[in-house]
């Protein structure tokens, strides 16, 4: 009886996932469709005559953009960790002056619309000559992840028993040494979570890329797809093929690091 009920639920679950992921399936389907079949009415439900012309075109044109996005993503992760790890440690364990104020400011920082940040950065970069540079995008993209990183590290490190720190201090370890040898190894999971999100947000960023990097030859993949759509409205198989390629990191991370993603989404909203 219970077994039957459970299978019934599984069947419903499969149908629900199918409905939810239909757009993703459609992206695949269109990416494999021949240009000549693009305007078929009704559209082909399955790629029964698949072609890789879309992928050939996408790879031919978008490889540099993919490399740029990868570089920006990794740079954003590095900058985010550099700023938020020590700050999280300080806020969680060292009780610095003004901790409450910092908390509040981090919350406010997350409410500022990206379009406002983009205008501010634009006004600053135009003076500094940092428009259309990869470094400029890394800095802008890191603002998406730093508040999240600090809040997550702070919450996680606060739960590390104070006895461990006390023990390290009694052994004569400096604060820095304690941070490096005790706190960091224990925080491995939260470092993975923050890195994941920092990378994904930078990889997916469109607003900063489209405002701070508009006239550059070195463009991230999101801008590559956007320009592609603007330039040719008939090559939807190539557009969708690029979209599939741009989704690879997300799919990859979902398979490898689902646990960390779920932890990151619920951080700060739900207490365990």
């Amino acid at each position: 009886m219970t077994v039957r009920r459970s299978w019934w639920k599984t069947a419903v679950g499969v149908v629900l996932v199918g409905l939810m992921l239909f757009p993703v399936y459609w992206m695949f389907n269109v990416s494999l469709t021949k240009t000549s079949d693009m305007r078929a009415d009704p559209p082909h439900w399955f790629p029964w005559d698949p072609t890789f012309e879309g992928y050939t075109a996408a790879f031919g044109q978008q490889l540099p953009a993919l490399a740029t996005s990868l570089f920006i993503g990794l740079g954003t992760v590095a900058l985010t960790l550099l700023v938020s790890l020590p700050a999280g440690y300080s806020l969680a364990k060292l009780r610095p002056l003004g901790a409450r104020g910092i908390d509040f400011l981090l919350l406010v920082a997350q409410m500022i619309p990206a379009v406002v940040m983009a205008m501010g950065f634009y006004a600053i970069y135009i003076r500094l000559g940092m428009l259309n540079t990869v470094a400029g995008l890394i800095v802008a993209d890191s603002t998406l992840a730093v508040p999240f990183g600090v809040l997550l590290f702070r919450a996680f490190m606060a739960s590390i028993p104070a006895e461990l720190m006390a023990a390290a201090q009694i052994d004569g370890a400096s604060t820095w040494r304690t941070f490096r040898s005790v706190i960091l190894p224990l925080s491995r999971n939260s470092v993975i979570t923050v890195s994941l999100f920092a990378f994904l947000w930078a990889w997916s960023d469109f607003i900063f890329a489209s405002t701070l990097n508009r006239n550059s030859d070195v463009i991230p993949i999101t801008l590559g797809i956007f320009r592609y759509i603007g330039n040719n409205t008939t090559q939807w198989n190539s557009i969708m093929a690029t979209a599939v390629i741009a989704s690879i990191p997300a799919a990859f991370l979902l398979v490898l690091a689902q646990r960390y993603i779920a932890a990151g989404v619920t951080a700060g909203a739900v207490k365990d």
Partner: protein, 313 residues
């Protein structure tokens, strides 16, 4: 994974402990310094520039030369008097409230569905994260093609049911609905994950007791699940509100806020004035952006207040 309780254990350093080599105050500040510097440079300064843009008249020429005329609150007055403002405000309200209400309802229904494990439930639940992880440009362009008037799969399916062609993205009657639908789809995973975690924290024995008292599933949901989930629901809705107010990419990629402002929200309006026309007009754009911050900030204050109440509970 994280416990948000502030240090329940703080070790009082006993008097006979070895004196530390440096004053801990300095060390604490040293570890915090990169963040403080970062926030001053990359949040406070851009924000300051944005306010400064909104109280001057920055023509493109003045923008480069740096000699704009000070106009006080004139930009704000012009914005509020602009015909687009009411349109953008009501579009923002429809888009935001429609999105978060349906994301929440669907996310909660799915969370309840997955609450009791069954075969493959973990894997299926993970699959739901996909839309949330995809780059927005990917989701938005996929939806654009699905909603295409002549060749879109959506119209093709509707045709099978005898419904004529709907110009989803090119008709002012439906473009706001179209971007809202796409945005709801994007937000379901986030709601599902948070609400599912909230459900896991409800003690199972409550359900057992209710079962013994003869409560059916419907009663169990409305008498136990929903009331006990209230704090998590409130936070989920508020975070959703703050995120949705800021949305630019999905709308810009699908409709550019058109046709004729039909899907222009405050965020889109600000983006278009600044970056979308080829004639950058930063001063009104910054003013619109700042109005948006005020709305988000009001929501944020509610959020902080709720979290405080949560922590006391």
């Amino acid at each position: 994974m994280t416990s948000v309780r502030t240090q329940s254990v703080t070790v009082r350093r006993a008097a006979h402990e070895a004196p530390r080599r440096r004053s801990p105050r300095w060390t604490a500040l040293a570890f915090l310094a990169p963040l403080v510097l970062y926030m001053l440079l990359f949040y406070a300064y851009p924000l300051y520039r944005n306010i400064e843009l909104s109280v001057h008249d920055y023509t493109p020429r003045a923008f480069v030369q740096g000699d704009p005329e000070f106009t006080g609150l004139a930009n704000y007055a012009n914005i509020l008097a602009d015909d687009t403002f009411l349109r953008a405000l009501s579009n923002t309200a429809v888009f935001t409230l429609g999105s978060i209400a349906l994301q929440y309802a669907l996310g909660l229904a799915l969370a309840v569905f997955f609450h009791r494990t069954f075969r493959l439930s973990v894997a299926l639940r993970a699959m739901f994260l996909v839309p949330w992880l995809l780059p927005l440009i990917v989701s938005a362009s996929t939806w654009s093609w699905m909603l295409n008037s002549e060749n879109g799969i959506v119209n093709s399916v509707l045709q099978a049911f005898g419904i004529g062609q709907i110009n989803w993205l090119t008709s002012p009657d439906t473009s706001l609905l179209a971007v809202t639908i796409a945005n709801i789809w994007l937000g379901i995973p986030f709601n599902l994950v948070i609400l599912y975690a909230g459900l896991q924290n409800i003690p199972a024995d409550l359900y057992e007791a209710a079962g013994l008292d003869g409560a059916n599933a419907w009663q169990r949901f409305w008498r136990i699940t929903f009331p006990l989930l209230r704090p998590v629901s409130a936070i989920t809705l508020l975070l959703g509100l703050i995120y949705t107010l800021k949305v630019v990419d999905i709308i810009w990629i699908m409709t550019k806020g058109g046709p004729a402002d039909a899907s222009t929200t405050l965020a889109i309006w600000s983006y278009r004035e600044a970056f979308g026309t080829g004639q950058p007009d930063f001063s009104p754009a910054a003013a619109v952006g700042n109005i948006l911050i005020l709305i988000a900030f009001a929501a944020g204050l509610v959020h902080v207040h709720l979290q405080r109440r949560e922590e006391r509970a």
